[in-house]
Symmetry: C2
Amino acid sequence: MRVTEVSTPAVVVDLDVLERNLDRMAAYCAEHGLGLRPHTKTHKTLEVARMQLARGAHGLTVAKVGEAEVMATAMAESGTSQILVAHPIVGEEKIRRLAALASGVDVLVALDSLDAAKGLARVAQEVGRTLGVLVEFDSGSHRCGVAAGEACAELGKAIRSLKGVQVRGLMTYFGSVWGDEQHRSEEIARLSVDVERTIKAFQRAGLPLEIVSAGSTPAAELSHLVHGITEVRPGTYVFNDLNTFYQGLCTLDDCAVRVMTTVVSTCVPGQVIVDAGSKVFSSDLLSAGPKHGYGRIMEVEGASLSKLNEEHGFVQADDYGAFAVGQVVSVIPNHVCTCINMHDEIYVSRRGEITGTWNVAARGKVR
Amino acid sequence: MRVTEVSTPAVVVDLDVLERNLDRMAAYCAEHGLGLRPHTKTHKTLEVARMQLARGAHGLTVAKVGEAEVMATAMAESGTSQILVAHPIVGEEKIRRLAALASGVDVLVALDSLDAAKGLARVAQEVGRTLGVLVEFDSGSHRCGVAAGEACAELGKAIRSLKGVQVRGLMTYFGSVWGDEQHRSEEIARLSVDVERTIKAFQRAGLPLEIVSAGSTPAAELSHLVHGITEVRPGTYVFNDLNTFYQGLCTLDDCAVRVMTTVVSTCVPGQVIVDAGSKVFSSDLLSAGPKHGYGRIMEVEGASLSKLNEEHGFVQADDYGAFAVGQVVSVIPNHVCTCINMHDEIYVSRRGEITGTWNVAARGKVR
């Protein structure tokens, strides 16, 4: 079956593009001696996790315990055993599941408070396990994280005194490294200072620095410029999307995912409706570039989705006559992570031919 | 287990509020002799569909064939047999499934083009079934739909000549009836004219008017003011949300859904992070009222979610000291339909006690 023949709406991954993206990041990390611990939030599939591990990823990153439970399968097969939950896990039920997982997998949790660490420690101790902890510090994204520098060491020392958890190092999110190349480079230079003084504070306190985890897709290939980092955690690089394109991180040919959708209505003058809305794309706005629109239509020059209802996509085009009911078009989504998360199953293809389907196994694992 | 004790993030439905909302709409329709064909897109569960059918709904509305397949189960149990797919279904694979469904269920499809009708007719004829058709006309929402009036009758007549499909009446979406009470009333008066002349055009052409389907939640309880309508299709009324609240359609006490979420970080000054982001709430913006924010936190006066990342909710509050790591708060979402759609399972409760879980059976049925 050709890609254009799938029943729509449907997400289709181009395997050649995916493999090229995976190879590029693996080569960058190998060249600079950086560990690669990809964030699986983008693809949520065992298939891509296996491809990442086969290309030398030394572990995986997830955001939720339920995602860790899914990804543990891929870890076990590969002989790699270290998973990082890059989100403070707070709540006994979730920590019990995490501790259960820690029998076969080396589980690390990033957190930024003694309260969160105490919660982990209490349950881990009770069941006789040890959970690894990375102290999260804020290097400029202002989301989670202790202030860079001395405060991290203070928290690290307080956690060191708890049983059931073990400080293993530091984590930060390079969420402020965003936008065009110049802005990204300036931000990398600025946050390098924060990273360096945080590492020094940890060293002075005699705290372990086995792992200093950083990165994001926009920051990934600048990460070798930041001294002291041991690994990066890019996610979006596997597929890319309009956000990474508009930041100049990739070409449109590097975008591995297309949403196939069918024109279903051309009745209202100056308007075309397709069968994919926010329940297919997500409602995520474009966060770079023009900052409006919900996806670029590849078959018609200048055409995009200007608005989404739940089940209706509104096309914006110079020539609405280029569309007819029944026509199938392919769309590059704004934000591929939240788009994939809408789907239980996605198609894979090579050179325009559908070669199989993948279960989005970690989709909907909200806890 | 108390509602505040669930592992977070989690969606919890208050059954008392849900039942009150269901009763109110059923009573309104009964009072005015209007049929009720609720849109199941909001709840996507067999449980709520059964409650709607038990309260006199004479059929159900869905947007996708996959949703129709799920909801057919509830239909069969109730002895009600008519389902409306309120979206033009274009594409052979989907029509084949629809035709298969039409063996046990009376299937209606709303559409606005001869091309869409021909697609249905071709497959239905081939498998020896008949699919019902409602001609969709545009009464002001400017999304799908033939222009109101004569153009509808023209399309109806063209479809009448096809085998495998049968014109049964008209459908329109009152999507322009939105906002405050005065605006909604003015819009109802305006579109009444369109509805009337479309019905008259159908009558003149001798086309069937067994069903004239209209409505939406904001328009639902004004629908008796529009002459000629036989049924309404509200969806959101079952749960309500911040959008319906800000339109004055309900009180906060009429909002049946809370997202339970836990504070996981308070490190960054003037900021609190909870464990529910766009993969829990969806990224839908508020479409009424203040039009910013992603949900109202009920425990702390004036607190809301100002920003969402995929797994992080950013709290905005007058007093950040009111939050501590580990604290569980409940949030009314902006748009409950897209929020429910993120979850495989939701909790149900009565008077603060969890009484069970429901499978969101029609979630993720993108085709």
